[in-house]
């Protein structure tokens, strides 16, 4: 139940790095955003970041995850959140058991 000095230092370094990233928005944008192209880029950021998180997970981790990902995308086009999560978990478990 102890905290070593080395671990504390490492955890603080991680925390400060993470906090700095999260607070960056307070000093970054303001007059940057609002002009045409930059505003369009920022509007697209949610889609751009989420796609960039998802794509390597679905396309470079083998056929099982790619197949389950395809099932999730088809489901997400017509169903609400909770059923899609259930379908995703089921599809991933089944595909990983098969491949």
């Amino acid at each position: 139940m102890s905290i070593s000095a080395e671990a504390l230092l490492a955890i603080l370094a991680m925390a400060i790095a993470t906090m700095a990233c999260r607070l960056a928005g307070l000093v970054l944008p303001a007059r940057l955003i609002g002009t045409g192209r930059l505003s369009r880029a920022f509007d697209a950021m949610p889609v751009a970041i989420l796609s960039a998180i998802l794509a390597p997970l679905l396309l470079t981790r083998g056929p099982a995850d790619a197949l389950a990902g395809l099932v999730v995308i088809v489901a997400a086009a017509r169903l609400p959140m909770i059923p899609v999560i259930a379908i995703g978990i089921g599809a991933a478990a089944a595909a990983r058991a098969l491949f």
């Binding site: 080395e6 697209a44 949610p46 889609v47 998802l54 995703g88 978990i89």
Partner: protein
């Protein structure tokens, strides 16, 4: 905004918005805790990391690179790279914090994990983002994250292989639904195509968190410079 919106209903809506994400995050916090003993962290150290860092992806990466003794500058640098995306998210989210008092903006941003950011953006696209809604999203999420990490660290290897159960696909399903919600935006498919192509290519060349930064940058460049119809006020 409807007359019936009160801080209480806003808070409740925030809790409900993140419930699926909490259900998905708890097993991984438990796993994170269960792995930590094996990597040389005490229960107190792992609990402290979850409480102060509160960033799942970077905590997994940190456990992978945890040595005895751990290298503080290497772990700090890794957390910086893995969480650089939060700087972009933060810059975007700040635009929607108009209803927050000045002191609450940095407080809110410190609790901005991926899911909270995504739900806040989705909320702000249709409604005014209120401090009560945001607090509803964050309070239960944060407490469950820290508690589940501690429980995992205490219980050891309670969940040995959540991947075989497909539990990690809860995260993927949530993110896919959120992306699909934007599909009527101008240039949607061009942005997704650019992000997917660039992130996969980067991931193959340079594994780690860089694929997120490069992929997001490519998608935003396409949004800025590709031709397409403009927003019709929506």
């Amino acid at each position: 905004m409807a007359v019936t919106d009160t801080p209480f209903t806003e808070f409740r809506d925030g809790v409900f918005a993140t419930l699926p994400a909490i259900v998905a995050a708890v097993p991984f916090a438990v796993l994170l805790g269960a792995l930590s003993g094996d990597r040389g962290l005490s229960v107190a150290e792992m609990g402290l990391m979850s409480a102060l860092v509160f960033a799942g992806a970077s905590q997994f990466v940190a456990l992978d690179g945890w040595g005895v003794p751990p290298s503080w500058w290497l772990l700090g640098l890794t957390a910086l790279v893995v969480n650089l995306r939060h700087a972009l998210m933060s810059a975007s989210l700040v635009r929607h914090l108009g209803a927050f008092p000045p002191w609450a903006k940095p407080v809110a941003l410190l609790f901005m994990v991926d899911e909270v950011w995504a739900f806040a953006e989705a909320r702000a696209a249709t409604r005014r983002l209120t401090p009560a809604f945001y607090a509803g999203m964050v309070v239960l999420f944060y407490l469950s994250w820290v508690a589940a990490t501690l429980a995992g660290a205490v219980a050891g290897s309670l969940i040995r292989d959540p991947a075989a159960l497909g539990l990690d696909f809860a995260f993927i399903a949530i993110f896919v639904v959120l992306v699909a919600g934007f599909r009527r935006r101008p240039r949607f498919f061009a942005v997704v195509g650019a992000s997917v192509g660039a992130s996969v290519l980067t991931d193959l060349l340079l594994p780690g968190a860089w694929s997120i930064m490069v992929g997001a940058g490519a998608g935003m460049l396409v949004a800025a410079f590709a031709p397409g119809r403009e927003e019709g006020g929506a």
